[in-house]
Symmetry: C2
Subunit: 246 residues, 2 copies
């Protein structure tokens, strides 16, 4: 059994470029894996356009329902970077210059011998009371206010910010997940999986056909958020039953 | 100007395997591109777990707000394939055997010399009154009921079903999208993009930093759903202004 209560998370990808298909998203998968590793349950992901009204509405809806709300995208220096302002409105706080962020940006642009223009200074504006999410990849920090964690959109920066986020989580858990690969078709083992799902509490069983032009078999994923022992028993049961058919 | 009213779409990815990070989603990008090509505006994507209650709630919420709701995943033969039943409840129709789907499945399994087991027969159950979305890749069809289009989860099957969906759309449009790549940093051109965004109606301007360990420049995407002429003017304006800085 887990020592700590399972925390839930949702992820809000802010980006027209994903919705028009211009960009293949990589952040969902990375963030999902990292959350799974520390036992935080990612239960919802949405992709929304760069529209202030939509961002605000979605954040207000989601922040009530999850322990952590992570956003990616829209915190750069241009006119379409409206995430920080939208978050400020969503949480009802002043959108203002963060002195710590300004110091970081000043230091960064001095180091790379570039100017801290007004456009760049915009990246130090965020909801009043925010904590910075620093990262070594870019000068501009993300930020955390209430249960909202605001990341950049560029995957390498998201990875750096995710490392900081994971460090900050107090109560980590460990989910169990293991899989069986068989060349049998899904329909041949469906009854076994159904019995296992019913008989082993707290265990989730997923069936994923392996398809390469035509069906090649199945990967059965046995996982549990809180009951590793039962999941291991379920895995053993499924493997034994499959062996009987083969 | 467009001849046809712009239709909106949203996409519901049903899949624990995406939320745990086990699988990198490929369907969002494919569907987004294909919708963009025929001038349907993808305005929302969500990824939700294989939980009946959540699927039903989400579909009820979304089907009111979009012209098309596309779902992927959860229509196979195993216990965790609960999409068709959930859709039936969401639209308030009986979950029942579709005779046309049963015929297709019977024909398919006869052809590949395999048995139409009860588990496989489950794939012919769907909301009463559904239209089939046939495909040549797998025997099991997707289906359409009201404004909900239910696809499989396997990318090659999604592609086949998407081709059928696109064929069925009556009023296609053509969106305009073009881009400028510059080695200037975002902050250097931010003021130009802001002016362009303000001065050219119906034009959307996106700024996407090119980042490869460090900033390498920007791709500026100029697009319009309804006003190609203005978008072309905006592109010319931005290019001219950028050339002045370089």
């Amino acid at each position: 059994m887990l020592k700590n209560k399972i925390k839930s998370a949702c992820l809000v990808i802010i980006g027209n470029e994903i919705l028009t298909g211009r960009t293949q998203d990589k952040n969902i998968n990375h963030i999902a894996r990292e959350l799974f590793k520390v036992g935080v349950l990612l239960n919802y992901v949405c992709v929304i356009p760069d529209v202030k009204k939509i961002i605000i509405k979605e954040l207000r809806r989601l922040k009530k329902n999850f322990d952590y709300v992570i956003t990616t995208g829209g915190i750069g220096p241009t006119h379409d970077d409206i995430t920080a302002e939208s978050v400020s409105i969503a949480v009802g706080r002043e959108y203002k210059l963060h002195q710590g962020a300004l110091r970081d940006l000043t230091r960064y642009y001095k180091k790379i011998k570039s100017e801290l223009t007004d456009a760049r200074k915009k990246m130090a504006y965020m909801p009043s009371g925010s904590k910075l999410i620093k990262n070594k990849v870019s000068g501009a920090p993300g930020f955390n206010i209430e249960n909202i964690y605001v990341f950049a959109g560029i995957p390498s920066i998201v990875e750096a910010m995710m490392r900081e986020f994971v460090k900050s989580i107090q109560n980590k858990n460990k989910f169990y997940s293991s899989s069986i690969i068989t060349s049998l078709f899904e329909s041949k083992i469906a009854h076994i999986l159904e019995i296992a799902e019913k008989n082993f509490n707290d265990v989730s069983i997923g069936s994923y056909p392996i398809f390469d032009g035509r069906p090649k078999g199945v990967e059965v994923v046995i996982s549990s958020l809180s009951n590793k022992k039962n999941a291991q028993k379920a895995k053993k049961f499924i493997q034994t039953q499959i062996n009987k058919i083969i």
